[in-house]
Chain length 140, copies 2
DNA sequence: TATTTGCATTGTAAACAATACAAATTTATA
DNA sequence: TATAAATTTGTATTGTTTACAATGCAAATA
């Protein structure tokens, strides 16, 4: 039932389905690696040879606008996308560049900005550092 | 005492001073507007006509690497820099695009990732939404 | 005072991400 | 089926960032 899940997700967020949109959402749901536009484009290009990169850009942006995906700007080089939209934090390893999901700290619920001068729509929390497997490697 | 402060800051972070580096740090310390590379470049170009944009890129990156400045990737369009390196959060208004400092919520000290699989070097917390002055405007 | 050394700066070229836009295609609707 | 609307495609373009080679400059050494 591969794209059933994807189709459901699109409909749940009020996004008109199409072959491309289903494929992209399906990819997001199946690959929790926080892919970039290019990664999605290259991966899906095998199945959909006519796929245009512009479509991937537009579609992922559309997903983010509808709340069906999260746009992550943690790495300054490239924007990544996350199909998991429930609240969670991220960790980026400065050595290998990988982006990983992290559970939100328990205390986080109350962590809203002290000032009342803003209407908060999104909260982003992430860490940067060195992941375990990189820390184990000898070379600095 | 304009660049005295800047000079001190550079030395404190082990950065060799130079005319350009002092000027750029001085700008960062005086303008808490989270400027982009281009903003710094344009602003300082008046005083240092020979300044190269590459130098601004290199210098700000150098500052960030030495912990003398913070690199902010909140806006997916452009990287911003913050001369304030003490812990604080940010708020970005989706309408006007402004980036503002926000006090860290009191509970935040304990907010370290639950997993022990990472060596955390940086913690980033920010919010996106609508700022007060934009919320007051009539037009959506 | 010359020479050397090494880092900093400059400026151009190139890589790359992202967007704009118009044509082509597909889908929905009458 | 015809028509309109929405989506996709592909190219051209913009703009940011990096790579790199050449130059400048200042402190150290001869």
């Amino acid at each position: 039932m591969t794209d059933r899940n994807a189709l459901d997700t699109l409909q749940r967020y009020g996004i008109h389905p199409s072959v491309q949109r289903i494929a992209i959402m399906d990819y997001l749901l199946k690959h929790c690696t926080h892919p970039t536009v290019d990664e999605v484009y290259v991966a899906l290009g095998k199945d959909i040879p006519t796929l245009s990169k512009t479509t991937v850009y537009n579609t992922l942006r559309l997903f983010a606008e509808h709340g069906a995906a999260q746009m992550l700007t943690i790495d300054e080089k490239k924007v990544c996308f996350d199909g998991v939209v429930t609240s969670h934090a991220h960790f980026m390893c400065k050595r290998c560049g990988r982006l990983m999901d992290v559970q939100l700290p328990g205390c986080f619920q109350e962590c809203q900005p002290a000032e009342a001068d803003f209407i908060v729509e999104e909260t982003h929390l992430y860490y940067k550092g060195v992941c375990k497997s990189c820390a184990h490697k000898v070379n600095a």
